[in-house]
């Protein structure tokens, strides 16, 4: 449904068409007007020169998702559009803008008559050539045209172009300005606007534009990251790339290692040396790190490990999203191996979760896994600068590891049993704090021990840490009225669609509430009990074919005892949930509940 407060634009073309950079310029323009923005990119299999598409949602009100349907379809090349047609859900009332010189291969393109009603053709390539001397600028001509057509922020667009090309010199900027104008002028002069779509918004202070991966990198630096070691892997690589550039500015060390085994062990070495250390990877990389993560558990070394999930198993779908590494994060290492798992639910939360991960990891001396995914990692969202910078609202505590006191050093016991399981940790440079750290079972001093009694005692010590910290924070988000009889429990990036769907459902007169935990392990059962206590049914949507989250929840929450019916809602990954999918499920269950009353 066309809505002037909230527009979703889809742009498709070949790699050379500049689709992605057009999307980014647009996003920046909108954000500098304080609009709420959400952008997804998509590429074909080709490394370069293949097809690509972006989806940009621009809204006067906060947005949680990419938007279920595209209002404006911009086609730079129909043949490339065809590769994405399955991913590009189009509104039934659609506006199409395409290149006049790229005829649509009529019988293949799945467009209804209604969808073809508002259709403008602009000679992007030709105009670019005429006004800038090269067809390369056709994406900029396109931006000029759609800005004019849909009243997108005009000055901001120029600002954004200026910023984008600032390193290329004034001439390039001037030439791009010409391209914008060419697009604008063509629309003004040659097109009669027949559709009703015009962006309607209140200008506000600029918002930041950030990817989830960047927010994690930034969060790590905020938390005092000293050392990073990693190995590139899609879709996590941007974390490493960002850190490799900015960490040295803070005198930190960032190393590209030979593989993920090396990465995690280098991180543990740095942690042993008293430093805050992190690595980031995705599916296959995490599978390789499981042994090292277990070592961190046993040797009680703080470490932050980021997994930006992608489609699996194995190499799977490297550029697509899925939520199927959940159980592995919890149980992936052999033995009873304590760790903490945290899942961010959007870009801003990536920052929060990372700060929190370092806090927990340093304070409780154990590995903390941040489970993000491609959907969060690669999307761009507009963010309130306040919520990230200095005086922010989220979790902002920074912890410096407990080191041994004078008293402790008299007879230093690295793995001393304490009330909360945490023992003071020395590091090279501290005289008298020398000890043997190890992955083999050991006594309080660190001496290797294989007897049952020591193992029992030390296992308890290591797990006790999880009991203690859980009281420190509030880790759940709730949406909708708590007394609703129908509930939704989801995790991670599914939050967006769930929140929008729940809000819509309530607006439609249903009573539904949702719960999204940020902390996955340890499992805090109380908030779940509280949440389900008065529910009749709980829907559990997740992007895991086998329903990993549901299995995990069932291990701890006795739905049956409270008479709560669990409604699985699983799918294999690839594309994020649509709001509609969740909403339809809610409606279905709601109706059924009503019918049985």
């Amino acid at each position: 449904m066309l809505n002037n407060k909230n527009i979703v634009i889809g742009i498709a073309g070949s790699g050379g068409d500049g689709v992605i950079s057009a999307g980014e310029i647009l996003v920046n323009a909108a954000s500098s007007e304080g609009l709420f923005v959400f952008m997804l990119k998509s590429f074909g299999a080709q490394i370069r020169g293949g097809e690509s598409s972006v989806r940009v949602r621009i809204s006067d009100l906060p947005v949680q998702t990419q938007g279920d349907r595209i209002d404006i379809l911009v086609v730079l090349s129909w043949s490339n559009f065809m590769r994405f047609k399955a991913e590009m859900q189009l509104e039934e009332r659609l506006v199409i803008v395409s290149d006049s010189d790229d005829p649509m291969p009529d019988d293949e393109v799945p467009l209804t008559e209604t969808q073809r009603e508002f259709w403008y053709k602009v000679p992007f390539g030709k105009l670019a050539e005429e006004h800038t001397g090269s067809r390369l600028a056709k994406n900029i001509v396109m931006l000029g045209a759609i800005t004019e057509l849909f009243s997108l922020p005009k000055e901001a667009l120029q600002k954004s172009i200026k910023k984008t090309f600032r390193n290329k010199g004034d001439e390039v900027i001037a030439s791009n300005f010409k391209a914008i104008r060419a697009g604008e002028d063509f629309v003004k002069e040659q097109i009669v606007k027949i559709d009703p779509l015009r962006l309607d918004y209140e200008p506000r202070p600029p918002r930041l534009v950030m990817q989830g991966n960047e927010a994690i990198a930034l969060g790590a630096i905020y938390a005092g990251l000293d050392f990073y070691a990693g190995y590139p892997i899609t879709p996590s690589t941007e974390i490493m790339e960002w850190i490799a550039r900015y960490l040295p500015q803070k005198e930190g060390v960032s190393l590209q290692m030979e593989d993920e085994l090396a990465s995690i062990n280098a991180v543990l070495g740095a942690s042993f040396a008293g430093k805050k250390a992190m690595t980031a990877t995705s599916g296959p990389g995490i599978s390789l790190m499981n042994e090292g993560i277990g070592l961190a558990s046993m040797a009680e070394l703080p470490a932050v490990i980021v997994n930006v999930q992608r489609g699996g198993p194995s190499t799977g779908l490297p550029t697509k999203t899925e939520q199927a590494d959940l159980m592995q994060a919890i149980w992936g290492s052999h033995g009873d191996s304590p760790r903490v798992v945290i899942a961010p639910c959007d870009v801003e939360d990536c920052f929060d979760c990372t700060v929190l991960a370092f806090y927990i990891s340093e304070k409780y001396q154990l590995p903390v896994i941040i489970l993000s995914d491609q959907f969060i990692g690669h999307r761009k969202e507009s963010i309130n600068p306040e919520s990230i910078g200095g005086g922010a609202s989220g979790f902002r505590k920074v912890y410096r590891r407990d080191t041994p006191s004078e008293e402790d050093l008299k007879d230093y016991r690295r793995y001393k049993i304490t009330e909360n399981g945490v023992s003071p940790m020395s590091y090279p440079g501290i005289k008298g704090g020398e000890y043997l750290g190890s992955g083999i079972e050991h006594n309080e001093k660190g001496d290797p021990r294989g007897d049952v009694a020591t193992h029992a005692k030390m296992t308890e010590k290591r797990w006790k840490k999880l009991d203690h910290f859980k009281e420190e924070f509030q880790f759940e988000r709730f949406y909708g009225p708590q007394d609703a009889k129908l509930g939704v429990i989801a995790w991670g990036s599914t939050k967006g669609a769930v929140k929008e769907a729940v809000n819509k459902a309530n607006a439609m007169g249903m009573s539904v509430s949702a719960m999204i935990p940020q902390l996955i392990l340890p499992f805090l059962v109380e908030p779940f009990k509280e949440f389900i206590r008065n529910k009749n049914r709980v829907i559990i949507p997740e992007m895991s074919y086998v329903g990993q989250f549901r299995r995990y929840l069932r291990g701890f929450v006795r739905f049956g005892r409270y008479g709560v019916k669990v409604i699985p809602f699983t799918k294999a990954g690839g594309a994020p949930f649509m709001v509609e999918e969740i909403l339809n499920k809610i409606i279905e269950e709601w109706k059924d509940m009503e019918a049985r009353r």
């Binding site: 909108a30 500015q249 543990l268 290797p448």
Partner: protein, 287 residues
């Protein structure tokens, strides 16, 4: 200044679990002496290892010691050194730990010239798991996993390390602790990645005559060569009939720590005009 430390002062309270007669004892003693000679401070020394009989060594020495997982000692040691450059970092392990499961890491630590000393206590066997073939087990030897005799050419670690551009490569023999000590001192003093192959017999799974057999093949190198001639060094390593002991190759070039500090960090700080705070970093996300 505090008093000079004696070899015995570097001993931890742990009693070695090694078999009586194990070659690793000789190395341990030489190591303690080398520490005395260099007056290493325990608090500024990190000893890391993987898993194996040999990898138990860090536990027997007073220092920041770490007994990690099988094959990953070099990345771990890299993490320690790169984040605390003032610490003397020594990595130690067996032939299985280093040349088999850990083989992928050596070339990278070496080419980056990470300023650590890597000691392999090579007994040509898997000791801790009770006698299976390692990459250096001689051809034809019957072990628990090579019931019909060991097949496949054995690996030549010294040759390999030269090819990897390790900046210091030496071989020694735990049956000659004085020589071990000398090599250790030189290696630890060497700025950059230093590697020592220590022939260190496993009397339990390779037979008690190992000391004798090695002693027969040993030849001592003197240092009046051009130590930085890689081809000559390769040639020396190539002669597998002799066991040439001594420094086989040596070259001074910038360590990775130097490079990171001087090239990366300095350039980065120049780019950012000093240390950026979070608000400065946020700038790049402004639209």
């Amino acid at each position: 200044m505090s008093e000079a430390m004696k070899a015995a002062d570097y001993k931890s309270e742990l009693k070695p679990i090694w078999c009586p007669g194990c070659g690793d004892f000789g190395f341990l003693n030489a190591m303690l002496k080398a520490m005395e000679e260099l007056q290493l401070q325990p608090e500024n020394t990190a000893l890391c290892s993987g898993i194996g009989c040999s990898s138990r060594l860090p536990g027997y020495i007073k220092a920041y010691s770490f007994n990690g997982i099988h094959g990953r000692v070099l990345p771990f040691a890299t993490g320690v050194k790169m984040s605390r450059p003032e610490t003397t970092v020594i990595a130690v392990g067996g032939d299985g730990d280093g040349y088999s499961i850990g083989a992928g890491h050596i070339g990278h630590a070496a080419r980056k010239n990470i300023d650590i000393t890597y000691v392999v206590l090579d007994n040509n066997i898997y000791g801790l798991t009770k006698g299976q073939a390692s990459p250096t087990t001689p051809l034809g030897v019957k072990t628990k996993t090579t019931y019909y005799g060991n097949m496949g050419t054995t690996l030549n670690p010294v040759r390999m390390l030269i090819a990897y551009k390790a900046s210091f490569v030496a071989r020694t023999f735990s049956g000659d602790p004085k020589h071990v000590q000398k090599m250790l001192v030189e290696a630890i003093q060497h700025p950059g990645f230093s590697f020592i192959e220590v022939l260190s017999p496993c009397v339990t799974f390779r037979g008690s005559d190992q000391f004798k057999l090695i002693r027969e093949k040993v030849v001592y190198l003197d240092d009046d060569r051009d130590l930085s001639d890689e081809v000559k060094a390769f040639d020396i390593a190539n002669d597998e009939d002799k066991l040439t002991l001594g420094v086989i190759y040596k070259q001074i070039r910038p360590t990775y720590g130097d490079v990171i500090r001087h090239n990366v960090i300095e350039r980065a700080r120049a780019a950012s005009n000093g240390t950026p705070d979070i608000d400065a970093l946020l700038k790049q996300f402004q639209p």
